[in-house]
């Protein structure tokens, strides 16, 4: 008895929540593109949220599907971000001739020569992909080959991002120290204040999110995705069925890192600054929190988690920023108690579960 084979794309949209999130992304894209009433501030927020959602999707690929928790994904986000910073500085100087602040406080006379090629967007994009790929490949290969996994892997990634932060805080490292890079004047030769720039950046972010979502979903419902889930459920079993799990893990790890770098690349032009604070362990932990709150292993959960958490953060930062750590902690505790598998479980929640802790942890739920 073999189920009739549906078209691949149709199967990708089988999951109602996933279709909903994909539709919402499309709707946001249409709203930013066509609705003139949307303020520049709102558009910018939407663009940032899309970048965070992209980052969360990257983490969900490795954590939700392959069961590898990274608490250092800020590293790859920062690689994309710093490349974007160098690109923007280079082409701002080329367009306006204004010497950026970084040249003064670093004690330079001009931007380093080797940054020059990054003034071209295609080279910058290539550099972000190549550097994040190389860094993730080197780290992943060493770790997965030595069969470092679980909490040990998570701790090492956390240490890695911390070391990177300390390194980038130093002026000698050559990327602006604790000031980072800011004062970007133009993008593609157009001043940032020009109407339409914020919209363009938000659309690029939403477009990247939508394409990544659909692409990853297609990948995850296919053979590669099933093998990742098998790695997560029982890696020894999979190895003893003849599969080199090292290759599987390395492939998804590098894919995840590159997506995170692209998120960083899109994020920096929208906030106008990149500094070592994106490498703080707190941000990397927060990415995991977005995924945990939204629900792991379904891509849609990562988007929901990233958007919900950051929307609350944005609205609080305008009114009561000091409340944020408490709100976030409360949110984490609440979700952990009531929806151990994230907000995606809302549909299955019953009041009786309050009195029976753990009732929402059936074995079939993605863990």
């Amino acid at each position: 008895m073999i189920a009739p084979k549906k078209a691949y794309l149709a199967r990708a949209l089988d999951d109602r929540v996933f279709s909903g999130v994909a539709a919402a992304t499309l709707l946001a894209f249409a709203a930013v593109a066509l609705w003139p009433g949307l303020s520049g501030y709102r558009v910018n927020i939407v663009g940032q949220l899309a970048c965070f959602a992209l980052l969360a999707v990257a983490l969900d690929l490795i954590w939700g599907y392959a069961g590898i928790l990274s608490l250092g994904h800020g590293l790859f986000f920062a690689i994309g971000g710093y490349v974007a910073g160098m690109h923007l500085l280079e082409q701002s100087v080329a367009t306006t001739g204004i010497t950026p602040d970084i040249v003064q406080f670093m004690g330079w006379t001009a931007l380093p020569n080797w940054w020059g090629p990054l003034g071209s967007f295609s080279i910058a994009l290539l550099a972000a992909v190549a550097v994040s790929f190389a860094a993730s490949f080197a780290f992943g290969w060493v770790s997965f080959r030595s069969r470092v996994g679980g909490v040990y892997f998570a701790i090492i990634t956390q240490a890695l991002v911390y070391v990177a932060m300390l390194l980038m805080f130093r002026n000698d490292t050559g990327f602006g120290g604790n000031n980072g890079m800011t004062g970007f004047q133009t993008i593609f030769g157009v001043p940032f204040q020009t109407p339409g720039v914020a919209e363009g950046l938000a659309l690029a972010s939403l477009g990247a999110l939508g394409l990544t979502l659909v692409g990853c979903r297609l990948l995850m419902i296919g053979r590669f995705g099933r093998l990742l889930v098998a790695t997560r459920d029982d890696e020894t079993r999979l190895r003893s069925l003849g599969y080199e799990t090292l290759r599987l893990k390395l492939a998804v790890w590098c894919l995840s890192a590159v997506i995170a770098a692209i998120a960083g690349l899109l994020y920096v032009p929208q906030v106008g600054i990149i500094n070592p604070r994106v490498l703080s362990p707190e941000l990397s932990l927060e990415i995991a929190v977005w995924c945990a709150i939204g629900g792991r292993g379904r891509l849609a959960g990562a988007v929901i988690g990233a958007v919900v958490v950051n929307a609350i953060k944005f609205s609080l930062s305008a009114t009561l920023p000091e409340l944020w750590p408490f709100v976030l902690s409360a949110l984490v505790i609440l979700v952990a108690l009531i929806f151990p598998n994230g907000l995606l479980d809302i549909g299955r929640w019953r009041p009786a579960m309050l009195t029976r802790p753990g009732a929402l942890q059936p074995k079939d739920a993605p863990s």
């Binding site: 008895m1 073999i2 189920a3 053979r223 099933r226 093998l227 889930v229 098998a230 997560r232 459920d233 029982d234 020894t236 079993r237 999979l238 190895r239 003893s240 069925l241 003849g242 599969y243 080199e244 799990t245 292993g297 074995k363 079939d364 993605p366 863990s367």
Partner: protein, 236 residues
Amino acid sequence: MTVAVLVEGLTVEFGRFRAIDDLSLAIDYGEVRAVIGPNGAGKTTLLDVVSGVSRAKSGRILFDERLELTRRSEAAIARSGVRRKFQKPSVFEALSVRDNVEIGLGGANDAGSKEKVAAILETVGLSDHADRLASELAHGQKQWLEIAMVVVSEPKVLMLDEPVAGLTDEETERTAALVRRLRTPGRAIVVVEHDMDFVEAIADRVTVLHEGRTLFEGSMARARADARVVDVYLGR
């Protein structure tokens, strides 16, 4: 006749504990060999070393009289045709029963492989459960599913670690019938088990391990009569 698995002078140590001590044994194609013995005798360790999960300190393991297994990776050993079922039922809980078996088959996704998957599900009696998640299966069904995952690739050496642990009497009988059906002239089956009635029902020969060495080799009936075997294991 070629020997399926030839173990020569095998020693395995974990720290200062010697789990297997200069062990030699030969398993032929076409036979069902039971490896029995008290806890800590080295039974599971033997399967671990043959399948590449643990490493030998010295000695060698020849598969099919041509492949040395002690330096190969688990995946390479599995691909060469030596596969094992683990002690604890190890299935991919979040995948369907059919997906589990397909993964056991490897890459192919043609009509022939679909037939193979369907046939093996029929053999282990899980055809009606093919589209359920593996996590929804009962313990016994998970054991059979794992056997199906391992057998679907038609391994030449099939190792089963405690296939009837935790099963009911009826399930144990069904498993015994299944193992007899999986016995072919081109395949060696190695079973580690504590259930002696089950062993008697399936095994052509038994090897009794004790403290990492072979204590006895022969038929189950003679093992039951052997004074040393009774002393260290069966009499307890």
